[in-house]
């Protein structure tokens, strides 16, 4: 019997080689793999010559893929196995396919689907607020609801949070996103190739390098474009700089939320110093413009390398001292420890990835499991912390900050030469597929690029780590004081735009 087959991370695959299973076999095998510890990397629908199809990528110790024809309705996989839940909702919204028996069939981003079929959610998209959905409600005398957003009090992205509370205690938090939806996946399939890098860099600006790498690797794999070692090293440095800036910013923000202001301000400033190192490298604080198919558009000449090294040497002790300040403060520990716990079991069911997953004991890290760029030559330590609380999520970041500094220092201690990429988009071969994964600072980013029989993009599927992790935040808030929401929210610090696309 044909089954899911192993695929490489970022390899060119002929679409004909992906097993096209009968739906029932597809469903049974997928359930079997995930129930036995496999995780869902991608599960999406696409149209191919008038036929609607599914493609699924799973991971165990290896990546594997299979596809099938998509039925108009089908018995939901989620009803038997939770990790499919958001993927099935997304497919229902994008293509109007109904998963029967889905326990929580709710829109994901509030947008019209692309086929001429009735909307699964009975929404009217000609309305400014198309939502037709009753939030979960808890009944009872002392129950009250708190609604927050989409416009929040701070300088942050929009989203809606609905708390059902008894007194100060949160019984249930429901998160509704979609306000940032810009139609990115549809655009990727329609625009001229020259816009592809710009679009991928702007899916989530704080993960510019993560998404940019996924796109570049997919295109390089399909078009057989070789990337020289220097470019791989520069890309690795850029991804680690992105991790550093964000982790340091998050640790500062966590201190702000427990009113420990000195490290909040120091890390606020030091985060900027790391953003400036991305600017040093490529002229943009978020790394926009650096990664292109074929390599990088800016080299790491000796002058830049020396400046980078000098700055890291200067910043490293400052970072270490501020970390000491945070983690030796008993007041910080008192607030972090035991707050917003997500058990390893729950994290597994939800499919948490990245630091949020590692803080709940799931050691998965793309840099170790499916290394790209220069990670195969680097020692990336495992960072699992079993306690699953805010403290664990802070500890993972602390460890990763120190590790990233080491990694960058080890990469810039000798000259790095690369031929600067032209930025020209190569032509893609027909009927091919490439799936790419990278460990961005929030966790596993994955892109899947499918071409049609003329080599045009048939489907471009994007998955930001936040797609997995938002439900982790909702779970962390269960039975937690509502005043601890900001702290928990910062400890996950998820992307709205990366989710909304």
């Amino acid at each position: 019997m044909k089954a899911f087959i192993p695929i490489p991370n970022g390899g060119p695959i002929s679409r004909a080689d992906i097993p096209h299973l009968p739906f029932d076999t597809f469903r049974t095998q997928a359930l079997d793999i995930v129930k036995n510890g496999g995780k869902v990397v991608q599960f999406f629908a696409y149209e191919d010559g008038g036929t609607l199809k599914f493609l699924m990528v799973l991971r165990t110790h290896e990546l594997m893929a299979a596809g099938c024809d998509a039925p108009e309705t089908y018995p939901s996989l989620t009803s038997e196995c939770e990790p499919f839940h958001l993927f099935e909702r997304e497919i229902a919204e994008q293509y109007g396919i109904r998963p029967q028996g889905h326990p929580w069939l709710k829109m994901v981003r509030y947008h019209k689907h692309i086929r001429n079929k009735p909307d699964v959610f009975n929404n009217d998209y000609t309305q400014d607020i198309p939502g037709n959905y009753d939030y979960y409600q808890v009944a009872g005398d002392d129950i009250h609801e708190v609604a927050v957003g989409p416009v929040h009090a701070g300088v942050i992205e929009p989203g809606h949070f609905r708390f059902n509370c008894i007194g100060e205690r949160v019984l249930h938090l429901e998160i509704q996103l979609g306000y940032q939806h810009r139609g990115v996946e549809t655009l990727l399939q329609q625009v001229t190739p020259k816009r592809l890098p710009i679009l991928t860099e702007n899916m989530a600006g704080d993960t510019t390098i993560g998404h940019g790498l996924c796109m570049a690797q997919a295109v390089e794999a399909l078009a057989s474009v070789a990337v020289d070692d220097g470019a791989k090293i520069i890309r690795t440095i850029a991804l680690e700089l992105e991790r550093l800036a964000n982790h340091i910013g998050d640790l500062g923000a966590l201190c702000m939320d427990v009113a420990f202001l000195p490290p909040a301000n120091y890390f606020g400033r030091i985060r900027g110093d790391f953003l400036n190192l991305s600017l040093l490298l490529c002229g943009n604080r978020f790394g926009k413009g650096l990664v292109r198919p074929g390599g990088v558009r800016f080299d790491l000449n000796d002058e830049v390398r020396q400046t980078l090294n000098d700055r890291i040497v200067e910043l490293k002790p400052q970072v270490e001292h501020v970390l000491d300040l945070i983690f030796s403060a008993s007041t910080v520990r008192a607030r972090f420890e035991g707050c917003g716990q997500v058990s390893t079991e729950d994290a597994g069911h939800l499919g948490l990835v990245g630091p949020a997953g590692r803080a709940s004991g799931l050691s998965y890290d793309v840099r170790r499991w499916f290394p790209t760029e220069w990670y195969g030559y680097l020692k990336v330590p495992e960072n699992p912390k079993p306690s699953g609380d805010v403290y664990a999520r802070a500890l993972v970041r602390r460890d990763e900050v120190l590790q990233s500094l080491e990694m960058i220092q080890s990469l810039i201690d000798r000259p790095v030469t690369t031929r600067v990429a032209s930025g020209q988009m190569p032509t893609l071969p027909p009927d091919s597929l490439s799936v790419t994964l990278n460990e961005a600072w929030r966790g596993e980013v994955s892109h899947a690029l499918l071409t049609d029989d003329t080599g045009n993009i048939l489907r471009y599927k994007v998955k930001d780590p936040s797609f997995h992790n938002w439900n982790g935040l909702a779970m962390a808030l269960r039975d937690t004081g509502i005043s601890d929401f900001p702290l928990n929210n910062k400890s996950f610090n998820l992307s709205y735009c990366g989710f909304d696309l």
Partner: protein, 247 residues
């Protein structure tokens, strides 16, 4: 306690002296483009063809900084014979048309609405609305509160409620799902109110231009008083825009 004090001494004084002195930015930073009007027309055409944002007007030899994401493609293709990006981060404008630049920009302070200076010159409260986009503009507005920029020393703050605000600072291409919330926030700001558009998404849709899920520029929805271009604008660009427009 001792370690708090020790750290405080190590950190020292970090606030920049802008606008008295311009802080140095690393040389690869791409700010205001210098444009050579005498460049080879075929080179200009090649730049326009390669520009992912279609931001180059071949006839007028201008770049629309409202569309541009400062990726540097034109600089590279023309080998700096047509465009070279300078380190000048002071690129905000009071009129949309000023952003279609031949390499020069009018003085922002002279073009700003003078009554705003009188009203808000000493105290300016801003309400930020994130409406689509990628969160980079928000991030580089947020850093204005860090010690290096220290926005509050100019009497400018981001506030939590539109009722407390004098102006809204909009980022993102105004996604369909955020339009109502944006308009409601705008309505909640007491008059006279100022609208500030930050980033190429907000000004023209930026990288997402052409998508049916977004507006084609904030101006199609609200009257915009100040345009701060970039993808995202450098924090110093934001700071310059706010100071020159209101002070």
């Amino acid at each position: 306690m001792l370690s708090v004090l020790k750290n405080r001494f190590e950190q020292g004084y970090r606030t920049c002296n802008y606008p008295k002195e311009k802080p140095a930015v690393f040389p690869r930073y791409r700010g205001r483009p210098d444009i050579n009007k005498d460049a080879d027309p075929s080179v200009i055409q090649a730049c326009a063809d390669a520009c992912p944002q279609d931001a180059i007007d071949v006839e007028k030899k201008r770049i629309d900084m409202g569309r541009c994401v400062f990726c540097g493609t034109c600089e590279r293709i023309s080998e700096k014979t047509f465009v070279s990006f300078t380190n000048d981060f002071e690129i905000s404008a009071a009129n949309r048309s000023d952003l279609m630049t031949d390499g020069t920009l009018p003085d922002l302070a002279r073009h700003a609405k003078q009554h705003f200076k009188k009203l808000f010159g000493r105290s300016l409260q801003l309400r930020q609305v994130s409406a689509g986009g990628c969160n980079a503009c928000e991030a580089d507005l947020n850093v204005l509160a860090t010690p290096f920029f220290d926005l509050a020393r100019f009497g400018i703050n981001f506030v939590a409620s539109p009722r407390h605000a004098d102006a809204i600072v909009v980022t993102g291409p105004v996604s369909r799902n955020m339009k109502t919330a944006l308009l409601q926030t705008y309505e909640a700001v007491p008059e006279p109110r100022v609208v500030i558009a930050v980033g190429s998404c907000t000004i023209t849709g930026g990288p997402f231009y052409g998508s049916p899920e977004i507006a084609s520029g904030l101006e199609s929805i609200l009257p915009v008083d100040l345009f701060i271009p970039g993808c995202p604008p450098h924090p110093l660009t934001n700071l310059h825009g706010l100071l020159r427009f209101f002070k």
